[in-house]
């Protein structure tokens, strides 16, 4: 397991000075600044309901997404802003969704937990812990059934591994994998906690990747704070899953720096020291430092990126603020799909 990680790690490092990597760093800094802006807007009351940010976990989404290609489909839970942004969703429309505006990716009807942007490969944003694993398994089956070589990526938290949907989806995926009919990459975002309950307190077996092997699905652990490691594993695994149609599971070991949700201020379940200690392994700093060492990226370069990111996030807030509320008839729009039975197209007839 550790061996595989090293190999791919160095393979990616060789290419570390490719311009792509500075773009990825810029993207991660932007995601961080975007999330900070959402927390501020929540406190101001501009964002309502519930808000879960990805601060500390950026290397996971940004590392996986680089291995994907057009047509691949992504499913995730309610901690979904970074998933959308890393896939290329318009930050203005993501922020507008959080503000509940008509210009939001879900027309303001979903909010923070329900981003949906098929054009960029995002099939939600799911609000019930673990439920989306079943959807992702079915989507992967459909991709193969349709003769496509696309893969499905399904992100979920460590806490999601305790609900029935997880086990039911995993077993089905494992079985369908036997026939090469389930091209899915499960990604455990193991940030150490399900809300206030640590992995040790919620999972009888704390080796999470091992739990997945019970369903005949191979898996491995990766340092989720090191984007080179994540990307290295992702490149190899996504390629393999695309070829074989067999599911695979990546356990990305990460940490969330913010509270579980914006209302989680006291965080009585962990100490400030623990959080501080993890902040030393900030995924953005890790990438930045490596690019500095290997490619001579300077502090000024990073400062320029950061200024851009802050401004971009501020623009998204401005766009959201200035957008109009959803039109009143949106209330009834799409409760039932209006299209009726779909005509059979020419190529479906064959």
């Amino acid at each position: 397991m550790a061996k595989a990680k090293k190999e791919s790690d160095s393979a990616v490092l060789d290419a570390a000075c490719a311009p792509e990597w500075t773009e990825i760093l810029k993207q991660m800094i932007f995601i961080r600044r975007f999330e900070e802006a959402t927390e501020r807007e929540f406190r101001k009351g501009k964002i309502g309901g519930y808000l879960h940010v990805y601060i500390g976990q950026e290397a996971v989404a940004s590392g996986i997404v680089g291995a994907l290609q057009k047509g691949d489909a992504v499913f995730c839970g309610y901690r979904d802003h970074a998933q959308a942004l890393s896939l290329g969703s318009d930050p203005n429309r993501v922020m507008a969704e959080l503000f509940g505006k008509g210009t939001g990716v879900s027309k303001g009807k979903g909010g923070s937990m329900h981003l949906f942007d098929v054009e960029h490969g995002l099939y939600g944003g799911y609000g019930i812990v673990g439920g989306h694993l079943t959807l992702a398994a079915g989507a992967a089956y459909a991709k193969r059934y349709q003769g496509s070589d696309s893969v499905v990526v399904c992100y979920f938290g460590d806490g999601a591994m305790n609900i029935g949907s997880f086990h039911e989806a995993m077993n089905m995926a494992g079985l369908w994998g036997h026939q090469g009919m389930c091209p899915i990459v499960f990604v455990i975002e193991n940030n150490g906690y399900a809300m206030g309950t640590s992995v040790e307190r919620h999972s009888a077996l704390t080796d999470l990747a091992a739990r997945v092997r019970a369903y005949d699905i191979a898996g491995e652990k990766v340092d989720g704070q090191d984007i080179f490691a994540v990307r290295g594993v992702a490149d190899r695994v996504v390629r393999q899953v695309r070829e074989t149609g067999k599911p695979y599971c990546i356990e990305a070991v990460t940490y969330r720096f913010s509270g579980h949700g914006a209302a989680d201020i006291l965080q009585p379940y962990r100490t400030k020291e623990e959080v501080e200690q993890h902040r030393h392994r900030d995924p953005i700093n890790i990438l930045r430092k490596r690019l500095g060492e290997v490619c001579g990226l300077t502090d000024d370069d990073v400062k320029a990126m950061d200024e851009w990111a802050i401004e971009r996030a501020a623009n998204a807030v401005k766009f959201a603020e200035e957008s109009s509320q959803p039109a009143p008839d949106e209330l009834f729009a799409d409760v039932v799909a209006e299209h009726g039975p779909r005509p059979v197209s020419e190529d479906e007839r064959e």
Binding site: Y50, G110, I163
Partner: protein, 324 residues
């Protein structure tokens, strides 16, 4: 005694019942170290220890199922759903086992399943449910939905002491928005008894939960036109206080049923049918139902407000009834 909020009334009821009866324990997600997503169980871990305030993995069916199994052994568990929306993940064991066990096997299953429900807090489509209708025709299960701090405490105590499974629906909009002085002494609010919240003679509004306050506002407005409105706070949905409903209808001859869940197939349909069957001769006008529109609860605050019932819609219905 200082005034007690609705949420503190719930905490107090759990705490007092746990102190009174060792068989009572609390089980749910983040009810211990975290103190509950809304801090409903804040302090209980310190008071009662981890054996009686049990943090579980995210496993709604295991929470309700384990509570039911423990109840079979003589315990009286309180099972918390972090949001009542997630009860869908535990639906099977609640409706198939807990609700029917007494009938099938003569062994009671005294559990309380409780948690936050309701809209108005911009929780969006998966965090705003009013779930009563999903459970209405599952005989064996009781359903209560307090709308005041007094009832929140008294009904929870009654639910914990009841020998049957009780679904206790707390409205999260009310958690910290309402408070009142509660008696120092132990009291319960009997399950199945409505409260006549306001006496009137021209019109009856039957409602519960957070809609009490919409009914109050409407009644205040109607009073300006010398219309006297009776408000029946049902409090219990199953069993419901049929006598209180019929008595009021017999007096006012006009009735509005107001609830926050969507209209079609909502609990109001059952009450309307009962009134039509048993008090038809007393009615001077058709029965009116005011409920959420038949749409999922959208996140967007203005759309959410438009979906949920409000004073304007109640007043319009009232005026139509009075002019009928």
């Amino acid at each position: 005694m200082p005034e007690t909020t609705y949420i503190d009334a719930i905490t107090q009821a759990m705490s007092e019942e746990m102190a009174r009866d060792e068989r009572v324990f609390l089980i749910g997600e983040d009810v211990g170290a975290y103190g509950g997503a809304f801090k409903t169980s804040y302090g209980l871990l310190d008071k009662f220890g981890a054996e009686r305030v049990i943090d579980t993995p995210i496993s709604e069916i295991a929470i309700i199922g384990a509570a039911s199994g423990a109840a079979l052994m003589g315990m009286r568990p309180i099972a918390e759903m972090q949001f009542l929306d997630f009860i869908t993940c535990g639906y099977d064991i609640l409706v198939n086992f807990a609700a029917m066990n007494s009938y099938l096997f003569g062994r009671a299953c005294p559990i309380v399943v409780r948690g936050p429900a309701g809209g108005g807090t911009h929780g969006g489509p998966y965090h705003s449910i009013n779930p009563e209708a999903m459970f209405l025709n599952r005989p064996g299960l009781k359903i209560v939905a307090p709308g005041t701090a007094y009832d929140a405490k008294g009904l929870l105590k009654a639910a914990i002491r009841d020998d049957n499974p009780v679904l206790y629906i707390e409205h999260k909009y009310l958690y910290r928005r309402i408070k009142e002085n509660l008696p120092d002494d132990d009291y319960i609010v009997p399950i199945g008894k409505a409260n006549v919240r306001r006496r009137g003679k021209d019109l009856t509004i039957i409602t519960w939960g957070a809609m009490l306050y919409v009914a109050d506002d409407a009644a205040d407005e109607l009073a300006k036109d010398n219309v006297s409105t009776e408000i029946i706070d049902l409090r219990s949905i199953v069993p419901f206080d049929e006598d209180a409903i019929l008595e009021s209808v017999a007096k006012t001859n006009r009735v509005i049923i107001l609830h926050e869940a969507p209209l079609t197939g909502g609990a109001g349909a059952e009450f309307a049918a009962r009134i039509a069957e048993k008090a038809f001769d007393y009615l001077d006008a058709p029965i009116k139902r005011i409920a959420a529109l038949d749409v999922p609860t959208p996140y967007s605050p203005p759309l959410e407000a438009a979906a949920l019932p409000d004073k304007t819609r109640v007043l319009q219905a009232a005026r139509e009834l009075l002019a009928y």
